[in-house]
Symmetry: C2
Subunit: 164 residues, 2 copies
């Protein structure tokens, strides 16, 4: 960890980081609109997806999950103000190693500029490290490279996409 990271501590009097839960429905779907189109996601669909995410365990690790969706809650308001996912992929390569994929990082507009994105990334990275990932990857816009470099990430390749 760099000195920069050590000096930026999350203010735990105000904020809490935890796994997503069913009652986060409204806050999470709203927070994600900062990132992209959410569209029609009913409370029922949201709950079903959370149950699914909870149900998929890692191979040989019945206590650890493939889907690790975290949120940051503002304890004063009780609202979720940031959300992000760590998906853990079990591969053949690297001795049947795990690779973590960080996905769908969103911070509510009202709470931007408070390093919450940084703390969320650190928590997702720690989760992946604990589960034994040999690396964690994510895709970002070129303009966000500097932000991820501050979280000890480095450039690895180019993201390509095909849309239907």
């Amino acid at each position: 960890m760099t000195t920069t990271s050590e000096t930026k501590k999350l203010n735990t009097d105000i904020y809490e980081i935890r796994r997503i839960k069913a009652s986060d429905y409204e806050d999470v779907t709203k927070t994600l609109t900062v990132l992209t189109t959410v569209g029609v996601v009913t409370k029922e669909k949201f709950h079903k997806l959370l149950n699914y995410w909870d149900s998929v365990k890692l191979p040989d690790r019945p206590d650890e999950r493939m889907f690790n969706p975290l949120v940051i809650v503002n304890k004063k308001t009780g609202k979720v103000v940031a959300t992000g996912m760590l998906l853990i992929e079990p591969k053949i390569i690297h001795e049947c190693g795990f690779v973590g994929h960080i996905e769908d990082i969103a911070v509510a507009s009202s709470e931007q500029g408070k390093n919450l994105g940084y703390h969320l990334i650190r928590s997702l990275v720690e989760t992946g490290k604990r589960s034994g990932c040999y690396k964690i990857i994510l895709d970002c816009d070129a303009k966000n490279i500097g932000f991820y470099e501050k979280s000890d990430f480095s450039k690895a390749g180019i993201e390509m996409q095909i849309r239907f």
Copy 2:
């Protein structure tokens, strides 16, 4: 589909594309060494991982799988000569949409220059399309951008990584 794609048909007298199976152990672990370190992967670990990949279904789609590992077999020799994975990730965004992740594409050195990588990518893309993915993404070296553009992919972002 572009004209380029239509003119490049897989020679099905020689090659077959199918899901990975337990008896592919030696060929697949060998083929993957073209891509990166495989390390010690015993037959038992390989079979356990395949069973795991088979067991994880998509939400509300008991007949469709999250892990879609394909191989190309040379029917004359009976050997696997290429392998690649499509991991399907169920998200909240885009109306609880699915995103496909293409991972670990490897073609045996002896079979390179025969468009097998192209055909493997097309099969993985078709699998994702059938399962209802709204997009499919992959990460590659900058030198392979042209190859993926021929398969109708376009540049989307930068891959960042952290290694432990």
